[in-house]
């Protein structure tokens, strides 16, 4: 790899033109819809929060942590953004971060940008929005259960992103699916643990300081005081 700097996201050349274009269409559709409905979700406090999330996700994506076998992983951030901002604003934040990384830092390709936004942003954010809502209807209404669900969904979002990447690589004839999928899922099962830990820690910090800034419905433990007493 002569001219590739230390890259982390899908560079140009991994995906065929048609697969990159198809992924871009899906990413643009999601981001376009997000732009359309953004003002519905943007109250005054959430305007700076969009900047905060973009800054935090960009920064923490630079912090590659070692996982097994000479491999590293880093936060994706879509679940964190979806919990704090809701799934559609999360798509916008991820698009800002990944676009800046591609154009300013040469991290992730230009024709592959749509695929990166889809795999690391849109899919995770929408999955988190969908699953967390359902999970909190079934789980006990406690903060612990909420954080547990956030961690599980963060892990799952990484696995979904790795699956999508494998499918795109296989459909591009870069690598057979039965080679790509086990390799990608194996390493991302570990990376997903890091994603879950960082996401839960960050959500906990916001819950402790400004619980009103968490967009996803968090159980109100004061209202469920009886439940909490029983747990203790």
């Amino acid at each position: 790899m002569p001219d590739l700097p230390f890259a982390m996201h899908i560079p140009d050349g991994f995906l065929s033109g048609s697969i990159a274009a198809a992924a871009a269409v899906l990413a643009i559709a999601a981001v376009g819809y997000a732009l359309k409905v953004a003002d519905r979700d943007l109250d005054e406090d959430r305007v700076p929060l969009l900047g905060v999330l973009a800054a935090f996700i960009f920064a923490v994506q630079m912090l590659n942590f070692p996982v097994a076998g000479g491999t590293s992983g880093h936060l994706l951030g879509a679940t964190l953004a979806a919990v704090l901002l809701g799934p559609w604003l999360a798509c916008l934040v991820m698009a800002v971060v990944l676009t800046a990384q591609a154009f300013v830092f040469a991290d992730g390709g230009i024709t592959a940008l749509g695929a990166n936004v889809l795999n690391m942003g849109v899919l995770g954010a929408l999955l988190a929005g969908f699953l967390l809502g359902g999970a909190m209807r079934m789980l006990p209404q406690t903060r612990g259960a909420f954080l547990g669900a956030v961690g599980a969904v963060a892990w799952l979002a990484v696995m979904i992103g790795a699956t999508a990447t494998s499918l795109e690589l296989a459909a591009s004839d870069t690598i057979p699916l039965d080679t790509a999928l086990p390799a990608m899922l194996g390493v991302h099962a570990l990376i997903g643990i890091g994603e879950a830990v960082i996401t839960v820690a960050a959500v906990s910090a916001v819950l402790a300081s400004r619980p009103d800034l968490v967009a996803m419905k968090v159980p109100d433990e004061r209202a469920a005081g009886a439940l909490r007493t029983r747990e203790v």
């Binding site: 790899m1 001219d3 590739l4 700097p5 230390f6 890259a7 982390m8 996201h9 899908i10 560079p11 140009d12 050349g13 991994f14 953004a38 003002d39 519905r40 943007l42 305007v47 700076p48 969009l50 900047g51 905060v52 973009a54 800054a55 935090f56 960009f58 920064a59 923490v60 630079m62 912090l63 590659n64 942590f65 996982v67 076998g69 000479g70 491999t71 590293s72 992983g73 916008l92 800002v96 971060v97 800046a100 154009f103 300013v104 830092f105 040469a106 991290d107 390709g109 230009i110 690589l169 690598i175 080679t179 790509a180 390799a183 990608m184 390493v187 990376i191 300081s209 400004r210 800034l213």
Partner: protein
């Protein structure tokens, strides 16, 4: 429990992000990440290439140009990038909210 003001929350959170990007990222793992490791192991890493638009990237590979020391170069890149995406996302949100608010919309129309 008293809530901390939004402005303080933003300042603290962005400071944490800048601190991580400047001071911690230079010491992060430099092993290939999940996708790159798979690409190396399965022999398609060489298919990756830079787009022509990226040949003159301002800060290629998170190394701020003109700084010899690799760790300092990455720390400065982290500082610039973190503040840059903060500004872009904040600005985008500000414009989107203005567009959505009826009073702001009429004010914009009147002034344009």
């Amino acid at each position: 429990m008293s809530r901390i003001p939004t402005r303080l929350f933003v300042i603290v959170a962005v400071s944490v992000a800048v601190g991580l990007a400047m001071a911690v990222s230079p010491f992060a793992s430099s092993s290939p990440d999940g996708l790159n490791k798979v690409a190396e192991d399965k022999g398609f890493i060489d298919a990756g290439k830079l787009h022509s638009l990226q040949q003159d990237s301002p800060i290629p590979g998170y190394a701020f140009p003109g700084i010899e020391n690799e760790r300092v170069a990455k720390g400065v890149a982290g500082l610039v990038g973190t503040l840059g995406v903060f500004a872009v996302a904040y600005g985008a949100a500000y414009l989107l909210r203005r567009r959505g608010a009826p009073s702001a919309r009429s004010a914009t129309t009147a002034s344009s």
